[in-house]
């Protein structure tokens, strides 16, 4: 997931992930690595929630990981830490899915 926040980037992120979710048989297991994300907006949070809903509706699983402290603070104050399963790093997120 690259650092992005504008409408075009959000659209391209949505376009790249949603078809993957729809086409997966038996539910997709997706880990989103926030390692390169330095900035977040409410629009990105909205997209993550839409992605999460779609994944769980299709019996899949979503994990977020590698979120830097400033970005994690946004998840925390919006209480989205309760909505998303967040892991310290990609290894721990992958272990949980295996």
């Amino acid at each position: 997931m690259k650092e992005s926040s504008n409408k075009k980037d959000i659209q391209s992120l949505q376009d790249s992930i949603l078809p993957m979710i729809e086409s997966a048989s038996g539910g997709i297991k997706l880990i989103l690595d926030f390692g390169n994300v330095q900035y977040l907006s409410s629009a990105i949070l909205g997209l993550l929630i839409r992605i999460s809903k779609r994944i769980y509706e299709n019996d899949g699983l979503l994990r977020l990981c590698n979120i830097n402290p400033k970005i994690y603070e946004i998840f925390k104050i919006t209480l989205l830490t309760k909505t998303f399963d967040i892991y310290k790093d990609i290894e721990s997120a992958a272990d949980d899915l295996s």
Partner: protein, 145 residues
Amino acid sequence: MTPEASSNCSIVVESKPSARVEVCQQIMAKLEANHFGKDDFFAVHLTLEEAFLNAVKHGNKMDPTKKVKVEYLVDSEKVDISITDEGNGFDPDAVADPRFGDGPFKPGGRGLFLMNMYMDIVEYNERGNSVRMIRYKEKPDFTKV
């Protein structure tokens, strides 16, 4: 290097999401000149984008013929930004807190909340089409009257 002298700036830009880039660059340059910290950059960047996109999307209803006015003052103590659209305005008190009810599962409704959390003062004009946001470099004691 001494902080840059304060001065009021006012710009009027096209009501389109991409117009926020120039506005952001101008204000961030002022923050840098006045030696604001990383947390201030993060907070102002986040809230400025939220407020600007609200003006374009909800205020001006994505009408490209409309404008967004941004006024700002950055000095060694604070950043003070006002964003005004040409819409009919709204009642900020009527916007639900996204942390409660089914808010955490709704895609929208977090912009105003983030503005309130990351800025020290957020206030609206009576019509509700203009928001003023202030963040202080050193936090004032709001408990003292």
